[in-house]
């Protein structure tokens, strides 16, 4: 059985791409195009993995795993970067209020209710980010294999 290269490093690189795109203001506009930044992270995890793979065939299960792993790292790095950059919930809420006519009232009320419990808001937000990043990272990984792999 042939040994395959390590998946951790490409997944971390893909996750870092996801995290930076998600956390940096302005750059995170890319995600407005249907989570393109997250999908790109999954795609690049496959790209860097393929570089170490040589002539061995790239398969879909590796791509999906790489994309999902990149999603996990992306969510963690994104949350960490947001904290470092200083995007806090008070700022987020104030920004939301500026555009309150454009955002569903139910979402605003939900955040208003959770304003007093920032821990719960952070956990809920991080959990949602994790689910989204894993799903779209996985899709990015599969698309990566479809694009970078050899067609049978």
């Amino acid at each position: 059985m042939e040994s395959k290269p390590d998946k951790l490093v490409p997944a971390v690189i893909g996750g870092a791409i996801m995290g930076v795109i998600s956390a940096v203001p302005g750059l995170n506009m890319i995600n407005c195009l249907c989570c393109a930044g997250v999908i790109l992270g999954g795609f690049f995890a496959v790209y860097f993995y393929k570089k170490n793979l040589g002539d061995t065939e790239l398969n879909y299960s590796d791509g999906a795993l790489l994309g999902a792993l990149a999603g996990v790292f992306g969510a963690l790095i994104g949350a960490l970067l947001s904290a470092i950059i200083g995007v806090n919930f008070d700022q987020m809420f104030q920004q939301m209020m500026q555009y309150s006519d454009e955002i569903p009232q139910e979402a605003i009320e939900m955040i208003e209710n959770l304003q007093n419990n920032k821990g719960a808001l952070f956990i809920m937000s991080a959990a949602m980010g994790l689910v989204i990043d894993v799903i779209f990272g996985l899709l990015g990984g599969i698309l990566g294999v479809a694009i970078l792999g050899k067609k049978k």
Partner: protein, 146 residues
């Protein structure tokens, strides 16, 4: 199974405004908050049903429903065509309209409309399905062998 998962995702997009319409603010708020992670949710760029806006904007809605359409179309075409993984270049061609529409709007050169956002989203969504489904089928086959 893939179509069911995608259909469930699309149901959630409609469920958020439906729950809001029924004054179930908490579950509706959670759904809107969840989808706010992947969409700007601007009311002026969103479809409305039950008097409430959908969970995502018109472009994202079209993309997800286009993807659902692709997953439903795939098994029908599979009966008549052997190789259903289209050439890679087709994905690029499907992505070009949405990128142009998004970029021209973003740069303020030409304002996109509900029609352009919906059409470009539907095109990319339905084409992407033809690259994702073979991959997912392949993964299921690999696991069933093990």
């Amino acid at each position: 199974m893939i179509s069911t998962a995608v259909a469930l995702w699309c149901v959630l997009l409609v469920l958020a405004p439906l729950l809001a319409h029924m004054d179930l603010v908490a579950p509706s708020g959670i759904l809107y908050l969840f989808f706010s992670k992947i969409c700007h949710q601007q009311a002026s760029r969103s479809f409305f049903i039950f008097g409430k806006q959908m969970a995502v904007c018109s472009r994202c809605t079209a993309l997800y429903f286009g993807f659902l359409f692709g997953t439903l179309l795939y098994p029908l075409l599979q009966r008549t065509m052997k190789d259903l993984q289209p050439p890679k270049i087709l994905l690029l061609f499907a992505a070009i309209p949405i990128v142009i529409d998004f970029s021209l709007g973003g740069l303020g050169i030409l304002e996109n409309t509900f029609l352009t956002r919906s059409i470009t989203g539907l095109i990319l969504g339905s084409v992407v399905a033809f690259y994702i489904i073979p991959g997912l089928k392949n993964i299921f086959m690999e696991f069933s062998k093990k």
